[in-house]
Symmetry: C2
Subunit: 255 residues, 2 copies
Amino acid sequence: MEDTRGDSGPLKSVRRLFDVVEAIEALQEATLTEIADETGIATSTLYEYLKTLEGVQYIIKEDREYRLGSKFVRLGTSSKQVIPLTGVVTPYLERLAEDTGETVWFLIEEYGLGVYLEHAAGDQSIKTAHSIGGQSHLHCHAGGKAILAHLPADRVNKIINTHGLPAMTENTITSRSRLLEELEQIRDQGYAQNDSEQLEGTRAVSSPIVIEGEVFGAISIGGPEHRLHGEWFEEELPNQVRSVTNEIRLDRLYS
Amino acid sequence: MEDTRGDSGPLKSVRRLFDVVEAIEALQEATLTEIADETGIATSTLYEYLKTLEGVQYIIKEDREYRLGSKFVRLGTSSKQVIPLTGVVTPYLERLAEDTGETVWFLIEEYGLGVYLEHAAGDQSIKTAHSIGGQSHLHCHAGGKAILAHLPADRVNKIINTHGLPAMTENTITSRSRLLEELEQIRDQGYAQNDSEQLEGTRAVSSPIVIEGEVFGAISIGGPEHRLHGEWFEEELPNQVRSVTNEIRLDRLYS
DNA sequence: GATATTGTTCCGGTAATCCCGGAATCCGTC
DNA sequence: GACGGATTCCGGGATTACCGGAACAATATC
């Protein structure tokens, strides 16, 4: 029997449960048959999954449509709270967003992908491109490269092997050696840049939070290239992110 | 065989899965044996649950400790996005927090409990008392009462039957008739107040967002009683929340 | 408004799986 | 290096997840 999730653990019903949950997530709101189509689970079986999810109050059935309940919001908050830096980072993000006027992100690495955990919008910033909890490849933006630059070499290789280096734009780094070279450079200069590598017309500058050799995440400033250019992009923003990540490092160390 | 979750759905393994997830949530970080103690599941069985959760990348095993992964953050974001007002409410919350200097909340009702979904902190505000996704009884604070006041009478009764009216402080309304009376008054005046009913020494003012007879949530302003008193608490804040919820209503209607 | 169609809920038998005891292995500690 | 504790692995037996199909409900069609 084929299985979309491969050998991801012995308990089939748990795997299927998350198939169901993710199907509802993807569809936002959906009826039983819609979810059945999405997952390939027989309607009578799916009915039991949905009934149970409703019983534990993790999904909500309104009229005939199912949607995710706010208990997932609670789990999300709990999940974030355990991550060492989430509490510390927020005020720094807000100040940086205010000072620069651009959108600022706090990003971590998990299972080889980047995850956006916090966000602060400056007055100039356009509406958010990513959502909190959203995943992204690491090789195609400043924050991801900043993190990769400080992961052990074997982990970087494993991540590349698992997720590849897919081209998001024509500027995306798609060669392993090119990437490793750039990571070297990022380590040297203490910050990373993204020039239309993830999304055409957008740029970013990022610096990692490294404490005792371990990366805990990265702070990024991003915006449209018509604002992020020249000295502002090459000098000013790199200095600002680096000084903020340094402050966070010290805050974390002495508190 | 006894079951903590009662008749909450036919699929036992799904119920147990959420027992495991919630145990990890409660413990924040925990080893296999700690989770086994918390849930009462045999270690060999639990091992399979954790293995599967790790396989689908919803938990993270570091060293010997398990914790919730950020996929729950993603699900939380998705869950919030489906709720009709989340997108709309944020800028209004921020403005209200700035204007009043106090902490401001957006609250909804789900399964008979209040859930805090958004939050904005004014410069005067102390650190947040609730967390995003956190649940609370509805009868003991302004936002909850504002919502209850606009739910159908039979739903209100059902909620009281299910969750009771537990006393959180000596000011908490613990009598059904007293509560119903106050809800009546809240409907009349268009806002609700909380005077040390949830937490000693804190007050709040709240107004519901009602569109075509349906409550979609409530906005609350909360703070310590030494700041929330007199005309500010009795006149100014009620006017401010009401005007904001009214704006949100109109924003929602014509957009 | 009656009928057709589509979607949901219920039921029961069976194959699969979850489940736990116990053994083996790993890890930290004395 | 031996001990104790925790984790991982294994196997068989009991439970339950699973799906077909029937009953029922809701919606669409004429």
